[in-house]
Amino acid sequence: MHATEPMPQLPPDLFSRVSIRDVLKRFHNAGQLGEHPLAHLHWVDADAAPLERGTALRELLRAGIESLRPDEGELRWGEKR
């Protein structure tokens, strides 16, 4: 990617806490997941079926969650914080 090229702007509320909470509620239902606005962002072909879009979005969410997982040993369980 070229750093000098301006990046396009997207509506910020699509990635808001409410939106992400909503999409995670549908995580285990690929059909419903495929109907979420986030699934229409061309992670897959524009003419893909909802199920296909949902599956692609789920994989993406899974990758995102995985990427945000803290390093091993960072969390200390068992003590109320």
Partner: protein, 292 residues
């Protein structure tokens, strides 16, 4: 655990409820940001691919206009001496978008001058879209392969261009109205040098050559002769490398170098190495037997 109530999850994770909700909100925001970044990168990537896939004349790919190529070598660690007046004159002429030729003896410092100019702040400001630089050299250069360097720098896939003419056309089209300085270094024949004179109306062209005929063919009467350095400038150049040189040694070395900056630079580097251990005897021996 996707259908569990937050309180249950907080207990299961060993968190007080306030911390749990706070951490959950933060995690959702982070995931949202991550997805947003992915989407922007994706759109950006698609836009770039789209711009690269457009065609000119149905045959030649056009470039990514956001690229600002800078192909000139970087400035050497030692500074240029004795060329201030010449540099000002060249800068003035380049500002007007002229084609210029720097012509002079081998080792006179033509390439060093061109490098200094390409890296000059005012020149870079004037030619804000970058510098295209090519070193041709002696022999029979593969012009199409050399043009491939410029094609890549302009964001065009060299493999998509099948002849020298297509390459030249693609480069010229990609340059368009961009403000670029085009430098052809060490040209030995007019045909080779002119093949790279591909800039548009907002470009300036600079060729370095030892051959007057090439200079004339490339730049008409806008030829700037790069002469040998005078004694004062030669001394200053040598002393950049070895400030402790005795005056008699300097005079001897100037005589040997003939005021050619390349010779002075090579001698200076050699003597600096000999002087590195700060042993006067080693330096004296080195001066007696200079082997640049």
């Amino acid at each position: 655990m996707h259908n569990r109530k937050p309180d249950y999850l907080a207990d299961a994770l060993g968190l007080v409820r306030g911390t749990f909700h706070q951490e959950q909100a933060r995690a959702l925001e982070m995931l949202g940001s991550w997805l947003g970044e992915r989407q922007l990168m994706r759109e950006h990537d698609q836009a770039r691919k789209h711009s690269q896939s457009k065609r000119v004349d149905g045959a030649v790919l056009i470039s990514d206009p956001s690229l600002k190529p800078f192909l000139a070598p970087s400035r050497p660690p030692h500074s240029l001496v004795g060329r201030a007046r010449l540099i000002n004159e060249i800068k003035q002429q380049l500002t007007y978008g002229h084609s210029l030729a720097l012509q002079g003896l081998p080792g006179a410092g033509k390439t060093a001058l061109a490098i200094a100019l390409a890296n000059d702040d005012a020149v870079r400001q004037r030619f804000r879209d970058g510098v295209l630089w090519i070193g041709i050299g002696r022999g029979d250069p593969d012009v199409q392969a050399l043009m491939g360097v410029w094609l890549s720098a302009l964001g065009i896939e060299p493999a998509s261009v099948h002849s020298m003419e297509d390459a030249a056309r693609a480069i010229h089209a990609a340059i368009g109205t961009r403000h670029l300085l085009v430098v052809v270094d060490d040209a030995w024949d007019s045909e080779g040098a002119l093949a790279f004179k591909l800039g548009g109306p907002n470009c300036a062209h600079l060729v370095t050559t030892r051959l007057p005929a090439v200079a004339i063919d490339f730049a008409g009467n806008r030829i700037l002769k790069v002469d040998e350095l005078d004694d004062q400038a030669s001394t200053a150049l040598l002393q950049q490398f070895v400030p402790t040189l005795e005056n008699t040694d300097v005079q001897n070395l100037l005589h040997v170098s003939g005021g050619l900056p390349l010779a002075l630079t090579l001698m200076g580097r050699y003597l600096r190495k000999a002087n590195f251990a700060s042993q006067p005897s080693r330096l004296a021996r080195a001066i007696d037997t200079p082997r640049p």
